[in-house]
Symmetry: C2
DNA sequence: GAGAATAAATGACAATCATCAGGGTCTTGT
DNA sequence: ACAAGACCCTGATGATTGTCATTTATTCTC
Protein backbone atom coordinates (compact mmCIF):
# COMPACT_ATOMS: atom_id res chain seq x y z
CA UNK A 1 0.00 0.00 0.00
CA UNK A 2 0.94 3.61 -0.52
CA UNK A 3 -0.43 6.97 0.51
CA UNK A 4 -4.16 7.01 -0.26
CA UNK A 5 -5.20 10.18 -2.11
CA UNK A 6 -7.96 12.34 -0.62
CA UNK A 7 -11.05 12.86 -2.75
CA UNK A 8 -11.85 16.34 -1.47
CA UNK A 9 -8.65 17.76 -2.91
CA UNK A 10 -8.53 15.48 -5.96
CA UNK A 11 -8.91 17.35 -9.22
CA UNK A 12 -9.86 14.11 -10.98
CA UNK A 13 -13.10 14.02 -9.00
CA UNK A 14 -14.22 17.27 -10.64
CA UNK A 15 -14.55 15.66 -14.05
CA UNK A 16 -16.64 12.73 -12.80
CA UNK A 17 -20.12 12.17 -11.44
CA UNK A 18 -18.59 12.64 -7.98
CA UNK A 19 -18.50 16.38 -8.60
CA UNK A 20 -22.21 16.38 -7.74
CA UNK A 21 -21.62 15.13 -4.19
CA UNK A 22 -22.01 17.25 -1.06
CA UNK A 23 -18.84 17.64 1.07
CA UNK A 24 -20.02 15.06 3.59
CA UNK A 25 -20.52 12.45 0.89
CA UNK A 26 -17.14 13.28 -0.62
CA UNK A 27 -15.62 12.55 2.77
CA UNK A 28 -17.41 9.23 2.96
CA UNK A 29 -16.29 8.23 -0.53
CA UNK A 30 -12.75 9.25 0.37
CA UNK A 31 -12.78 6.95 3.39
CA UNK A 32 -14.44 3.99 1.71
CA UNK A 33 -12.51 3.98 -1.57
CA UNK A 34 -9.49 1.77 -2.18
CA UNK A 35 -6.64 3.26 -4.14
CA UNK A 36 -4.13 1.04 -5.86
CA UNK A 37 -1.15 1.22 -8.21
CA UNK A 38 -1.21 -0.80 -11.40
CA UNK A 39 1.84 -1.38 -13.57
CA UNK A 40 1.61 -1.46 -17.35
CA UNK A 41 -0.37 -4.48 -18.61
CA UNK A 42 -1.88 -5.34 -15.24
CA UNK A 43 -5.63 -5.79 -14.97
CA UNK A 44 -7.86 -3.36 -13.11
CA UNK A 45 -10.64 -5.86 -13.84
CA UNK A 46 -11.15 -8.69 -16.29
CA UNK A 47 -13.95 -10.10 -18.45
CA UNK A 48 -16.03 -12.55 -16.45
CA UNK A 49 -15.33 -11.11 -12.99
CA UNK A 50 -18.06 -9.65 -10.82
CA UNK A 51 -18.00 -5.87 -10.46
CA UNK A 52 -17.21 -4.52 -7.02
CA UNK A 53 -17.73 -0.85 -7.78
CA UNK A 54 -16.64 1.85 -10.17
CA UNK A 55 -13.03 2.75 -10.87
CA UNK A 56 -11.81 6.31 -10.96
CA UNK A 57 -8.51 6.87 -12.75
CA UNK A 58 -6.54 9.07 -10.39
CA UNK A 59 -3.50 9.13 -12.65
CA UNK A 60 -2.46 7.21 -15.74
CA UNK A 61 -4.08 5.56 -18.73
CA UNK A 62 -6.06 2.36 -19.19
CA UNK A 63 -7.57 0.51 -22.12
CA UNK A 64 -11.04 -1.02 -22.23
CA UNK A 65 -10.85 -4.15 -24.32
CA UNK A 66 -12.60 -7.34 -25.22
CA UNK A 67 -11.31 -10.61 -26.60
CA UNK A 68 -12.81 -11.45 -29.99
CA UNK A 69 -13.91 -14.86 -31.28
CA UNK A 70 -10.56 -15.13 -33.08
CA UNK A 71 -8.74 -14.68 -29.77
CA UNK A 72 -7.53 -11.21 -30.63
CA UNK A 73 -7.87 -8.26 -28.32
CA UNK A 74 -10.14 -5.50 -29.51
CA UNK A 75 -9.62 -2.15 -27.82
CA UNK A 76 -13.01 -0.47 -27.37
CA UNK A 77 -11.61 2.75 -25.95
CA UNK A 78 -9.19 4.43 -23.59
CA UNK A 79 -9.61 6.20 -20.29
CA UNK A 80 -7.15 8.46 -18.51
CA UNK A 81 -6.70 10.71 -15.50
CA UNK A 82 -10.10 11.97 -14.37
CA UNK A 83 -12.16 9.31 -16.13
CA UNK A 84 -14.40 6.72 -14.50
CA UNK A 85 -14.77 3.21 -15.86
CA UNK A 86 -17.00 0.27 -14.99
CA UNK A 87 -20.45 1.85 -14.89
CA UNK A 88 -22.16 -0.38 -17.37
CA UNK A 89 -21.34 -3.79 -15.94
CA UNK A 90 -22.07 -2.63 -12.39
CA UNK A 91 -25.47 -1.25 -13.42
CA UNK A 92 -26.32 -4.36 -15.43
CA UNK A 93 -25.51 -6.48 -12.38
CA UNK A 94 -23.62 -8.92 -14.57
CA UNK A 95 -20.02 -9.99 -14.88
CA UNK A 96 -17.72 -7.70 -16.80
CA UNK A 97 -18.07 -8.04 -20.56
CA UNK A 98 -14.82 -6.14 -20.97
CA UNK A 99 -11.43 -5.96 -19.38
CA UNK A 100 -9.73 -2.84 -18.09
CA UNK A 101 -5.94 -2.93 -18.35
CA UNK A 102 -3.33 -0.32 -17.46
CA UNK A 103 -1.35 0.80 -20.50
CA UNK A 104 0.91 2.89 -18.27
CA UNK A 105 1.70 2.66 -14.61
CA UNK A 106 -1.50 4.07 -13.14
CA UNK A 107 -3.15 4.90 -9.85
CA UNK A 108 -6.80 3.91 -9.73
CA UNK A 109 -9.43 4.19 -6.97
CA UNK A 110 -12.20 1.65 -6.45
CA UNK A 111 -15.43 3.15 -5.16
CA UNK A 112 -17.48 0.28 -3.73
CA UNK A 113 -20.89 -0.58 -5.19
CA UNK A 114 -22.92 0.26 -2.08
CA UNK A 115 -21.55 3.79 -1.90
CA UNK A 116 -22.17 4.30 -5.61
CA UNK A 117 -25.72 3.00 -5.55
CA UNK A 118 -26.67 4.87 -2.40
CA UNK A 119 -25.48 8.12 -3.90
CA UNK A 120 -27.19 7.77 -7.26
CA UNK A 121 -30.39 6.86 -5.40
CA UNK A 122 -30.21 9.89 -3.13
CA UNK A 123 -28.67 12.40 -5.49
CA UNK A 124 -30.61 13.11 -8.69
CA UNK A 125 -27.85 15.31 -10.05
CA UNK A 126 -25.33 12.53 -9.75
CA UNK A 127 -27.81 10.10 -11.33
CA UNK A 128 -28.27 12.49 -14.24
CA UNK A 129 -24.51 12.80 -14.59
CA UNK A 130 -24.17 9.02 -14.85
CA UNK A 131 -26.99 8.86 -17.39
CA UNK A 132 -25.32 11.49 -19.52
CA UNK A 133 -22.03 9.64 -19.33
CA UNK A 134 -23.69 6.41 -20.44
CA UNK A 135 -25.59 8.20 -23.18
CA UNK A 136 -22.45 9.64 -24.68
CA UNK A 137 -20.81 6.24 -24.42
CA UNK A 138 -23.69 4.71 -26.37
CA UNK A 139 -23.35 7.37 -29.04
CA UNK A 140 -19.60 6.95 -29.26
CA UNK A 141 -19.80 3.16 -29.47
CA UNK A 142 -22.44 3.30 -32.20
CA UNK A 143 -20.30 5.63 -34.24
CA UNK A 144 -17.41 3.26 -33.80
CA UNK A 145 -19.51 0.39 -35.16
CA UNK A 146 -20.11 2.21 -38.39
CA UNK A 147 -16.52 3.37 -38.71
CA UNK A 148 -15.11 -0.08 -38.13
CA UNK A 149 -17.57 -1.78 -40.42
CA UNK A 150 -17.55 0.57 -43.38
CA UNK A 151 -14.03 1.94 -43.56
CA UNK A 152 -10.86 0.51 -45.07
CA UNK A 153 -7.84 -0.44 -43.00
CA UNK A 154 -6.03 2.63 -44.26
CA UNK A 155 -8.81 4.92 -43.04
CA UNK A 156 -9.04 3.12 -39.74
CA UNK A 157 -5.30 3.23 -39.05
CA UNK A 158 -5.28 6.98 -39.68
CA UNK A 159 -8.21 7.30 -37.32
CA UNK A 160 -6.44 5.17 -34.71
CA UNK A 161 -3.52 7.59 -34.75
CA UNK A 162 -5.91 10.46 -34.12
CA UNK A 163 -7.60 8.51 -31.34
CA UNK A 164 -4.20 7.92 -29.77
CA UNK A 165 -3.39 11.61 -30.04
CA UNK A 166 -6.65 12.39 -28.28
CA UNK A 167 -6.08 9.79 -25.57
CA UNK A 168 -2.37 10.24 -24.86
CA UNK A 169 -1.43 13.60 -26.29
CA UNK A 170 1.93 14.56 -27.78
CA UNK A 171 5.37 15.30 -26.38
CA UNK A 172 6.80 18.76 -25.84
CA UNK A 173 8.05 18.67 -29.45
CA UNK A 174 4.40 18.84 -30.47
CA UNK A 175 4.51 15.85 -32.79
CA UNK A 176 5.66 12.73 -30.93
CA UNK A 177 2.74 10.62 -29.68
CA UNK A 178 2.92 9.99 -25.93
CA UNK A 179 1.65 6.48 -26.52
CA UNK A 180 3.10 3.29 -25.05
CA UNK A 181 1.08 1.11 -27.40
CA UNK A 182 2.66 -1.66 -29.44
CA UNK A 183 1.77 -2.24 -33.08
CA UNK A 184 -0.32 -5.18 -31.93
CA UNK A 185 -2.32 -2.93 -29.61
CA UNK A 186 -2.86 -0.43 -32.43
CA UNK A 187 -4.12 -3.40 -34.44
CA UNK A 188 -6.52 -3.95 -31.53
CA UNK A 189 -7.93 -0.45 -32.03
CA UNK A 190 -8.22 -0.86 -35.78
CA UNK A 191 -9.55 -4.40 -35.65
CA UNK A 192 -6.99 -5.99 -37.92
CA UNK A 193 -3.73 -7.93 -37.91
CA UNK A 194 -0.53 -6.30 -36.65
CA UNK A 195 1.11 -6.79 -40.05
CA UNK A 196 -1.59 -4.72 -41.72
CA UNK A 197 -1.02 -1.90 -39.25
CA UNK A 198 2.73 -2.01 -39.82
CA UNK A 199 2.28 -2.00 -43.56
CA UNK A 200 -0.11 0.94 -43.40
CA UNK A 201 2.22 2.89 -41.12
CA UNK A 202 4.97 2.30 -43.68
CA UNK A 203 2.71 3.77 -46.34
CA UNK A 204 2.04 6.78 -44.13
CA UNK A 205 5.80 7.15 -43.67
CA UNK A 206 6.28 7.16 -47.45
CA UNK A 207 3.51 9.72 -47.72
CA UNK A 208 5.28 11.90 -45.10
CA UNK A 209 2.22 11.79 -42.88
CA UNK A 210 4.22 10.34 -40.00
CA UNK A 211 7.74 9.40 -38.96
CA UNK A 212 8.59 6.47 -36.74
CA UNK A 213 11.43 5.60 -34.45
CA UNK A 214 11.02 2.16 -32.96
CA UNK A 215 7.72 2.15 -31.13
CA UNK A 216 7.36 5.91 -31.13
CA UNK A 217 5.42 7.76 -33.79
CA UNK A 218 5.64 11.38 -34.89
CA UNK A 219 2.60 12.97 -36.48
CA UNK A 220 4.00 15.14 -39.26
CA UNK A 221 0.78 16.06 -41.04
CA UNK A 222 -2.32 15.92 -38.93
CA UNK A 223 -4.57 17.54 -41.52
CA UNK A 224 -3.43 14.88 -43.94
CA UNK A 225 -4.26 12.15 -41.45
CA UNK A 226 -7.69 13.63 -40.81
CA UNK A 227 -8.25 13.61 -44.54
CA UNK A 228 -7.14 10.00 -44.91
CA UNK A 229 -9.30 8.99 -41.94
CA UNK A 230 -12.33 10.39 -43.75
CA UNK A 231 -13.97 11.68 -40.58
CA UNK A 232 -17.73 12.26 -40.73
CA UNK A 233 -19.94 15.10 -39.54
CA UNK B 1 -55.15 11.63 -36.07
CA UNK B 2 -56.55 8.44 -34.64
CA UNK B 3 -57.61 7.24 -31.24
CA UNK B 4 -54.82 8.03 -28.77
CA UNK B 5 -53.98 5.02 -26.59
CA UNK B 6 -54.14 5.41 -22.80
CA UNK B 7 -50.91 4.77 -20.89
CA UNK B 8 -52.56 3.44 -17.75
CA UNK B 9 -53.96 0.42 -19.57
CA UNK B 10 -51.04 0.06 -22.01
CA UNK B 11 -49.13 -3.15 -21.54
CA UNK B 12 -46.16 -1.68 -23.42
CA UNK B 13 -45.62 0.73 -20.55
CA UNK B 14 -44.89 -2.16 -18.19
CA UNK B 15 -41.68 -3.07 -20.00
CA UNK B 16 -40.30 0.47 -19.95
CA UNK B 17 -38.98 2.92 -17.39
CA UNK B 18 -42.56 4.25 -17.18
CA UNK B 19 -43.46 1.24 -15.07
CA UNK B 20 -41.84 3.06 -12.15
CA UNK B 21 -44.31 5.94 -12.29
CA UNK B 22 -47.05 6.56 -9.75
CA UNK B 23 -50.65 6.55 -11.14
CA UNK B 24 -50.84 10.32 -11.15
CA UNK B 25 -47.69 10.62 -13.24
CA UNK B 26 -48.93 7.92 -15.61
CA UNK B 27 -52.02 10.02 -16.16
CA UNK B 28 -49.92 13.08 -16.88
CA UNK B 29 -47.76 11.19 -19.37
CA UNK B 30 -50.89 9.83 -21.00
CA UNK B 31 -52.23 13.34 -21.52
CA UNK B 32 -48.98 14.92 -22.69
CA UNK B 33 -47.82 12.21 -25.06
CA UNK B 34 -48.44 12.31 -28.81
CA UNK B 35 -49.27 9.06 -30.51
CA UNK B 36 -48.77 8.64 -34.22
CA UNK B 37 -48.95 6.01 -36.95
CA UNK B 38 -45.90 5.43 -39.14
CA UNK B 39 -46.00 3.41 -42.33
CA UNK B 40 -43.11 1.17 -43.37
CA UNK B 41 -39.96 3.15 -44.21
CA UNK B 42 -41.17 6.39 -42.65
CA UNK B 43 -38.96 8.20 -40.17
CA UNK B 44 -39.78 8.46 -36.48
CA UNK B 45 -36.71 10.67 -36.26
CA UNK B 46 -33.66 11.28 -38.41
CA UNK B 47 -29.94 11.89 -37.96
CA UNK B 48 -29.26 15.56 -37.39
CA UNK B 49 -32.66 16.50 -35.96
CA UNK B 50 -33.08 17.81 -32.42
CA UNK B 51 -34.70 15.37 -29.97
CA UNK B 52 -38.13 16.32 -28.67
CA UNK B 53 -38.55 13.46 -26.20
CA UNK B 54 -38.41 9.71 -26.01
CA UNK B 55 -40.39 7.39 -28.24
CA UNK B 56 -42.30 4.43 -26.90
CA UNK B 57 -43.20 1.77 -29.47
CA UNK B 58 -46.85 1.06 -28.80
CA UNK B 59 -47.09 -1.46 -31.61
CA UNK B 60 -44.84 -2.43 -34.48
CA UNK B 61 -41.14 -2.59 -35.25
CA UNK B 62 -38.50 0.02 -36.00
CA UNK B 63 -34.85 0.00 -36.94
CA UNK B 64 -32.15 2.19 -35.45
CA UNK B 65 -29.67 2.98 -38.18
CA UNK B 66 -26.87 5.23 -39.20
CA UNK B 67 -25.51 6.18 -42.60
CA UNK B 68 -21.88 5.15 -43.07
CA UNK B 69 -19.12 7.08 -44.82
CA UNK B 70 -19.77 4.98 -47.93
CA UNK B 71 -23.39 6.13 -47.95
CA UNK B 72 -24.71 2.73 -46.91
CA UNK B 73 -27.18 2.28 -44.10
CA UNK B 74 -25.90 0.39 -41.10
CA UNK B 75 -28.60 -1.03 -38.85
CA UNK B 76 -27.47 -0.74 -35.23
CA UNK B 77 -30.46 -2.58 -33.78
CA UNK B 78 -34.19 -3.09 -33.75
CA UNK B 79 -36.91 -2.11 -31.34
CA UNK B 80 -40.45 -3.43 -31.15
CA UNK B 81 -43.65 -3.24 -29.17
CA UNK B 82 -42.86 -2.25 -25.59
CA UNK B 83 -39.42 -0.78 -26.32
CA UNK B 84 -38.35 2.81 -25.86
CA UNK B 85 -35.92 4.54 -28.20
CA UNK B 86 -34.17 7.88 -28.18
CA UNK B 87 -32.72 8.06 -24.68
CA UNK B 88 -29.13 8.66 -25.60
CA UNK B 89 -29.46 11.64 -27.90
CA UNK B 90 -31.98 13.30 -25.60
CA UNK B 91 -29.67 12.89 -22.60
CA UNK B 92 -26.64 14.08 -24.54
CA UNK B 93 -28.58 17.18 -25.55
CA UNK B 94 -27.30 16.85 -29.09
CA UNK B 95 -28.86 16.17 -32.44
CA UNK B 96 -29.68 12.56 -33.23
CA UNK B 97 -26.65 10.56 -34.34
CA UNK B 98 -28.98 7.85 -35.58
CA UNK B 99 -32.25 7.54 -37.41
CA UNK B 100 -35.28 5.60 -36.29
CA UNK B 101 -37.34 4.19 -39.15
CA UNK B 102 -40.46 2.02 -39.12
CA UNK B 103 -39.88 -1.35 -40.75
CA UNK B 104 -43.56 -2.20 -40.39
CA UNK B 105 -46.59 0.02 -40.00
CA UNK B 106 -46.20 1.06 -36.37
CA UNK B 107 -47.85 3.13 -33.69
CA UNK B 108 -45.38 5.15 -31.66
CA UNK B 109 -45.86 7.59 -28.77
CA UNK B 110 -43.68 10.65 -28.21
CA UNK B 111 -43.18 11.53 -24.57
CA UNK B 112 -41.98 15.15 -24.45
CA UNK B 113 -38.57 16.01 -23.00
CA UNK B 114 -39.87 18.07 -20.07
CA UNK B 115 -42.05 15.25 -18.78
CA UNK B 116 -39.20 12.78 -19.12
CA UNK B 117 -36.63 14.96 -17.39
CA UNK B 118 -38.96 15.97 -14.59
CA UNK B 119 -39.77 12.36 -13.83
CA UNK B 120 -36.19 11.07 -13.83
CA UNK B 121 -35.27 13.98 -11.56
CA UNK B 122 -38.06 13.25 -9.11
CA UNK B 123 -38.18 9.48 -9.34
CA UNK B 124 -34.95 7.66 -8.46
CA UNK B 125 -36.41 4.30 -9.48
CA UNK B 126 -37.17 5.54 -12.94
CA UNK B 127 -33.72 7.10 -13.13
CA UNK B 128 -32.18 3.77 -12.19
CA UNK B 129 -34.31 2.03 -14.79
CA UNK B 130 -33.01 4.38 -17.48
CA UNK B 131 -29.43 3.87 -16.30
CA UNK B 132 -29.81 0.13 -16.51
CA UNK B 133 -31.30 0.40 -19.97
CA UNK B 134 -28.39 2.52 -21.15
CA UNK B 135 -25.90 0.21 -19.47
CA UNK B 136 -27.21 -2.83 -21.26
CA UNK B 137 -27.21 -0.86 -24.49
CA UNK B 138 -23.54 -0.02 -23.98
CA UNK B 139 -22.76 -3.67 -23.35
CA UNK B 140 -24.72 -4.81 -26.38
CA UNK B 141 -23.14 -2.25 -28.68
CA UNK B 142 -19.64 -3.14 -27.51
CA UNK B 143 -20.26 -6.79 -28.19
CA UNK B 144 -21.51 -5.87 -31.63
CA UNK B 145 -18.28 -3.99 -32.36
CA UNK B 146 -16.22 -7.08 -31.73
CA UNK B 147 -18.56 -9.33 -33.66
CA UNK B 148 -18.64 -7.06 -36.69
CA UNK B 149 -14.92 -6.46 -36.68
CA UNK B 150 -13.62 -9.96 -36.09
CA UNK B 151 -16.09 -12.26 -37.80
CA UNK B 152 -16.42 -13.33 -41.42
CA UNK B 153 -19.39 -12.42 -43.58
CA UNK B 154 -20.65 -15.98 -43.31
CA UNK B 155 -20.65 -15.84 -39.52
CA UNK B 156 -22.25 -12.42 -39.50
CA UNK B 157 -25.03 -13.36 -41.91
CA UNK B 158 -25.90 -16.37 -39.74
CA UNK B 159 -25.95 -14.07 -36.74
CA UNK B 160 -28.14 -11.57 -38.59
CA UNK B 161 -30.72 -14.30 -39.17
CA UNK B 162 -30.72 -15.06 -35.45
CA UNK B 163 -31.01 -11.36 -34.64
CA UNK B 164 -34.00 -11.15 -36.98
CA UNK B 165 -35.58 -14.16 -35.33
CA UNK B 166 -35.13 -12.47 -31.95
CA UNK B 167 -36.53 -9.16 -33.19
CA UNK B 168 -39.42 -10.30 -35.36
CA UNK B 169 -40.16 -13.88 -34.33
CA UNK B 170 -41.42 -16.63 -36.60
CA UNK B 171 -44.77 -17.46 -38.19
CA UNK B 172 -47.19 -20.03 -36.89
CA UNK B 173 -45.34 -22.65 -38.92
CA UNK B 174 -42.47 -22.16 -36.49
CA UNK B 175 -39.83 -21.58 -39.14
CA UNK B 176 -40.78 -18.64 -41.37
CA UNK B 177 -39.20 -15.38 -40.23
CA UNK B 178 -41.75 -12.62 -39.64
CA UNK B 179 -39.34 -10.14 -41.11
CA UNK B 180 -40.17 -7.49 -43.71
CA UNK B 181 -36.49 -6.76 -44.35
CA UNK B 182 -35.03 -6.68 -47.82
CA UNK B 183 -31.68 -8.27 -48.63
CA UNK B 184 -30.23 -4.78 -48.66
CA UNK B 185 -31.46 -4.19 -45.12
CA UNK B 186 -29.97 -7.49 -44.01
CA UNK B 187 -26.73 -6.27 -45.57
CA UNK B 188 -27.17 -3.22 -43.33
CA UNK B 189 -27.20 -5.47 -40.26
CA UNK B 190 -24.19 -7.45 -41.43
CA UNK B 191 -22.25 -4.46 -42.67
CA UNK B 192 -21.62 -5.67 -46.18
CA UNK B 193 -22.92 -5.45 -49.74
CA UNK B 194 -26.33 -6.92 -50.65
CA UNK B 195 -24.69 -9.28 -53.13
CA UNK B 196 -22.59 -10.82 -50.38
CA UNK B 197 -25.70 -11.43 -48.28
CA UNK B 198 -27.50 -13.02 -51.20
CA UNK B 199 -24.54 -15.24 -51.98
CA UNK B 200 -24.23 -16.33 -48.36
CA UNK B 201 -27.95 -17.06 -48.14
CA UNK B 202 -27.57 -19.20 -51.25
CA UNK B 203 -24.81 -21.13 -49.49
CA UNK B 204 -27.04 -21.58 -46.45
CA UNK B 205 -29.76 -22.86 -48.79
CA UNK B 206 -27.34 -25.42 -50.24
CA UNK B 207 -26.37 -26.40 -46.72
CA UNK B 208 -30.07 -26.89 -45.84
CA UNK B 209 -29.79 -24.33 -43.06
CA UNK B 210 -32.56 -22.21 -44.57
CA UNK B 211 -35.08 -22.15 -47.36
CA UNK B 212 -36.19 -18.99 -49.15
CA UNK B 213 -39.24 -17.93 -51.05
CA UNK B 214 -38.84 -14.46 -52.45
CA UNK B 215 -38.17 -12.16 -49.55
CA UNK B 216 -39.28 -14.65 -46.94
CA UNK B 217 -36.84 -16.92 -45.17
CA UNK B 218 -37.44 -20.21 -43.38
CA UNK B 219 -35.02 -21.24 -40.67
CA UNK B 220 -34.63 -24.98 -41.15
CA UNK B 221 -31.74 -25.63 -38.78
CA UNK B 222 -31.33 -23.12 -36.00
CA UNK B 223 -28.69 -25.09 -34.13
CA UNK B 224 -26.72 -25.18 -37.35
CA UNK B 225 -27.06 -21.42 -37.75
CA UNK B 226 -25.97 -20.85 -34.16
CA UNK B 227 -22.94 -22.98 -34.88
CA UNK B 228 -22.08 -21.10 -38.06
CA UNK B 229 -22.56 -17.78 -36.26
CA UNK B 230 -19.92 -18.83 -33.75
CA UNK B 231 -21.64 -17.14 -30.82
CA UNK B 232 -19.47 -16.33 -27.83
CA UNK B 233 -20.01 -16.81 -24.11
C1' DG C 1 -54.95 -8.13 -61.69
C1' DA C 2 -51.63 -6.19 -64.92
C1' DG C 3 -47.71 -3.47 -65.65
C1' DA C 4 -43.95 -1.01 -63.73
C1' DA C 5 -40.72 -0.76 -60.46
C1' DT C 6 -37.99 -2.92 -57.29
C1' DA C 7 -35.49 -6.61 -55.53
C1' DA C 8 -33.19 -11.22 -55.78
C1' DA C 9 -29.94 -13.97 -57.83
C1' DT C 10 -25.62 -15.22 -60.27
C1' DG C 11 -21.23 -14.67 -62.84
C1' DA C 12 -16.78 -12.52 -63.68
C1' DC C 13 -13.25 -9.86 -62.04
C1' DA C 14 -10.37 -6.84 -59.16
C1' DA C 15 -8.89 -5.21 -54.81
C1' DT C 16 -8.25 -5.61 -50.16
C1' DC C 17 -6.69 -7.98 -46.45
C1' DA C 18 -5.16 -12.12 -43.54
C1' DT C 19 -1.75 -15.48 -43.02
C1' DC C 20 2.76 -17.57 -42.92
C1' DA C 21 7.61 -17.12 -42.86
C1' DG C 22 12.00 -14.90 -41.93
C1' DG C 23 15.40 -11.43 -40.57
C1' DG C 24 16.52 -7.35 -38.16
C1' DT C 25 15.85 -4.10 -34.35
C1' DC C 26 14.38 -2.38 -30.20
C1' DT C 27 12.93 -2.94 -25.17
C1' DT C 28 13.00 -4.82 -20.96
C1' DG C 29 14.47 -6.85 -16.82
C1' DT C 30 18.15 -8.33 -14.08
C1' DA D 1 25.26 -3.04 -19.51
C1' DC D 2 23.93 -7.09 -21.43
C1' DA D 3 21.34 -10.88 -22.84
C1' DA D 4 16.89 -12.69 -23.83
C1' DG D 5 12.82 -11.86 -25.47
C1' DA D 6 9.57 -9.18 -27.58
C1' DC D 7 8.50 -6.52 -31.22
C1' DC D 8 8.94 -4.31 -35.84
C1' DC D 9 9.19 -4.82 -40.64
C1' DT D 10 8.93 -6.87 -45.36
C1' DG D 11 7.82 -10.29 -48.92
C1' DA D 12 4.97 -13.80 -51.02
C1' DT D 13 0.65 -15.94 -51.45
C1' DG D 14 -4.17 -17.18 -51.24
C1' DA D 15 -8.77 -16.37 -49.53
C1' DT D 16 -12.38 -13.30 -48.81
C1' DT D 17 -15.10 -9.80 -50.14
C1' DG D 18 -16.53 -5.62 -52.95
C1' DT D 19 -17.91 -4.01 -57.55
C1' DC D 20 -20.06 -4.10 -61.97
C1' DA D 21 -23.09 -6.14 -65.19
C1' DT D 22 -27.02 -8.88 -66.44
C1' DT D 23 -30.96 -11.88 -66.02
C1' DT D 24 -34.84 -13.47 -63.59
C1' DA D 25 -38.27 -13.16 -60.03
C1' DT D 26 -41.11 -10.80 -56.93
C1' DT D 27 -43.48 -6.87 -54.95
C1' DC D 28 -45.95 -2.83 -55.17
C1' DT D 29 -49.20 0.47 -57.12
C1' DC D 30 -53.00 1.89 -59.49
Amino acid sequence: MFKQPECDTCSSRLSTCLIELAPLQVLEVSQEKHSQLYTRNSYIFAEGQYPRGIYCIHKGHVKISKIGPDGREHIINFAGTGDVVGYSSLLSAETYSISCIAVQDSSVCLIPSEIFFRNIRENPLMALHVMQHLASEVRHTRRRIVELTHKSIRERVAEALLIMKEAFGVDSDGITLRSPLTREEIAGIVGTAPESVIRTLSEFRSDKLIATNGRSIQLLNIRGLVHVANIQS
